[in-house]
Symmetry: C2
Subunit: 338 residues, 2 copies
């Protein structure tokens, strides 16, 4: 226990008060030194810092936030953690946060449910965060109102196909769908299939689908057959729906998927069934996930910039005026499956 002798006292919680007492200065001086605010004599600073270290003092941010009426918390609401796309956005947010004066993310999940989102945001706002970053434009009226009435910055991430409450950072999913259609038509594909997941709560996948159809219409084409799962997107759903589509009566020579997870499932199904890609059928995804890129035949897809969206969301919330929309773009990845 001798090793513990120079450690902070076991129990007694140490506050600015104790530090001030021990250092023979006022609480305000301790506070100023700790926040590097205002002019401080060098020896005062040294004396105080020594006491701070000796006592193992950790400022209480709850008290600090209450007193200064601002917190360094950023509320983040994402729809799900099971789709790797959102953890990637979180990584970007985390990277953006590292450049700040140690802001902290408070993360919640909305499960693609606007009612749940409303509750979650209510709980978040109670912590008086500096900003709330949420996903997409679909919110309940009450959510929208809470956000408008509060004076926190709001960033709606992923999508820029509508007008933001405050700031939007993302890409145009409609354009991505359109670009997919144009690209595939130009490559000579004519008989289009579509394999999707439950789009009821996935506005962005719906927008991509609409964009795709517009491009096909312009070329005098349409989607000849489709198979849509009742569940969220997953590799398993992609396998199943691909099997269903290919077992149908309408022949297709290219399948556009609602995203890469579904498309990887499509590739797995074709491998199992001895269907050659892209000879028998071509496959095109969306997102540009690493798993698709690493497959023996790299998945043809559109790369979205999830990390960039998260990082930019933080930067924008710190610097941009209300009404800003930032397009993080996308790019077609040729790959080997279409």
């Amino acid at each position: 226990m001798t090793a513990k002798q120079r450690l902070p006292d076991r129990k007694s919680k140490v506050t600015v008060r104790e530090v001030a007492l021990r250092a023979n200065v006022s609480e305000s001086t301790v506070s100023r030194i700790l926040r590097n605010k205002g002019p401080i004599a060098d020896d005062t600073r040294e004396k105080v810092m020594e006491v701070v270290r000796a006592m193992g003092y950790v400022p209480n941010r709850i008290a600090g936030s209450l007193a200064s009426l601002n917190s360094n918390l950023v509320g983040v609401i994402i729809p799900s953690l099971s789709n790797i796309v959102f953890p990637e956005v979180l990584q970007g947010i985390h990277a953006g946060l590292e450049a700040t004066d140690n802001m902290q993310a408070v993360i919640s999940i909305s499960n693609y449910d606007v009612e749940l989102e409303e509750n979650v945001i209510r709980g978040l706002l109670a912590w008086k965060p500096a900003a709330v970053l949420t996903t997409g434009f679909e919110h309940s009226d009450a959510t929208r109102r809470m956000l408008e009435l509060s004076d926190v910055r709001v960033v709606e991430m992923m999508d820029i196909d509508s007008d933001p409450i405050d700031i939007a950072v993302g890409m145009s999913h409609r354009s991505a769908g359109y670009a997919t259609g144009r690209h595939l038509v130009e490559k000579g594909w004519r008989r289009f299939g579509y394999v999707g997941h439950n789009l009821d709560n996935d506005r962005r996948a719906r927008l991509r689908f609409e964009g795709l159809r517009s491009a096909l219409f312009e070329a005098g084409l349409d989607i000849a057959a489709r198979a849509v799962a009742g569940s969220a997107s997953s590799v398993g759903a992609g396998k199943q729906m691909t099997a269903q589509l290919l077992d149908g009566d309408t022949p297709v020579d290219v399948i556009v998927y609602s995203n890469d997870d579904m498309a990887v499932g499509g590739v797995f199904h074709c491998q199992s069934a001895g269907i050659s890609i892209p000879g028998d059928v071509a496959v095109f995804g969306f997102n540009g996930l690493d798993i698709g890129f690493q497959m023996p035949q790299p998945l043809s897809t559109i790369r979205s910039n999830r990390f960039l969206i998260g990082k930019t969301a933080i930067e924008a919330m710190l610097t941009e005026p209300a009404g800003t929309k930032i397009d993080t773009g996308f790019e077609i990845f040729e790959g080997g499956t279409a």
Copy 2:
């Protein structure tokens, strides 16, 4: 704008004070009603709740926490978000939290770096969380000390092969490695290869490796060849290291991977190179990720329970005494690749 007439006043932030004033009661009464504490006359409650709704009052949790000296925050530190395993743990934590009186997770990333973890935990403790959930047993001395001195509950997740600071929830990675070795030896494999990632900061992968070797030793065997990436685990690293191992001089008939990501990379390499699995070489992973399960040949692996670990961590922190270790177990998944 008539629709906005009944909405809360635009600016003036509303506090208990305003609610109390408008409802003709004291602040303490408002506080009691909002927290369902103590006896309250029915009509008082109704009257106050009406005002609360009318004014759109949202309690300030920062003030609440400071006054009551306890927060509903739970600090969570995970090493990374790029390995899907940790988002899965977060999902479990989220599920566990839903059963509580709306506690909120504050999530930070340590990037497998004990120094960074120390800073992150320091920042977290400043928020006086109810508990800190972190990953594994590897911490700096300072981290360990902070955690011990603070009176927050501490859960170390994923691993149970050491003694916890407070509570540990996870599985024995040594046993999992051992079980892998036994299983594969029993199935008749004799020439073992190992493909891994950078294990310097990954104690659990090291423990699995040690367990595997023990099992092999007991059977009079050893690892004949290995290829270890300098980077973190990924499908790409798995492809590359598998190629390297199979190009070496030492023939192997089964490869044990440090985890499923690496193993999936191994499968992809074999597909590209026309190597048949498990005929030419068998493949065995660790984790039981969905992607491995969905492949045309389901990946042989060990299933860990990441979701359960997260969920149990929350439950344990609420109910279990210090010193508790909870084994969430694992199971061998036969699959088709070994």
